[in-house]
Symmetry: C2
Subunit: 113 residues, 2 copies
């Protein structure tokens, strides 16, 4: 067998950074394909293809508007990822009081609070 297709589930679809960027933009509202291509400095065919993957796993919806197609985000499909990751939340929350972790936070410039 080979690697699981990107269209298998949101986990695989979202593993591609470009697609996360697209979702980041769609989270703010409806966007057309060329709109996204311009904002992300991508070529139109690649954007169409990424959107096709996102559509396949239900992460986006489309609406025809004249000769354009406006995409919106469907965040619900991210919930399984959230649920899975959340179970490990304590693994980085509980250790904030440990000195080594604290120092790491300081070094990386993050807010330890």
């Amino acid at each position: 067998m080979a690697r699981r297709p990107t269209t298998a589930d949101p986990f695989n679809a979202v593993a591609e950074p470009r697609r996360r960027q697209i979702l980041d933009l769609l989270a703010t509202g409806e966007r057309s394909v060329n709109d996204l291509a311009g904002l992300l400095n991508l070529k139109q065919p690649q954007v169409s293809k990424h959107l096709k993957v996102l559509k396949a796993v239900g992460l986006v919806n489309v609406r025809g508007a004249g000769r354009r197609r406006l995409y919106t985000m469907n965040g619900d499909k991210l919930k399984p990822i959230h649920d899975w990751v959340k179970r490990f939340e304590r693994m980085w929350a509980e250790r904030l009081d440990r000195l080594d972790e604290y120092l790491k936070e300081l070094q990386s410039g993050e807010d330890p609070g």
Copy 2:
């Protein structure tokens, strides 16, 4: 270019269901390779290979113990995933009061509370 390697980042490493299962088990404590293989009905080489990927992205640590190698989980590396997904949390939380979403919850047998 081809698809981003599984070792590129935790997003890609965790897109594989087997690796999520391995992390689920390691979250409960240290495990040896054969231990994991037995619990997941996988062959030893596949487990070693999955662990290699998880190690490459820092999601697990190893400790030699005699002729065995005990793996532990390092949850910190999941934080970027958590942070990214959490930004969309309102997209499924805010809509719980909408009728269609509510019905979906009921149909899927989930707790709408």
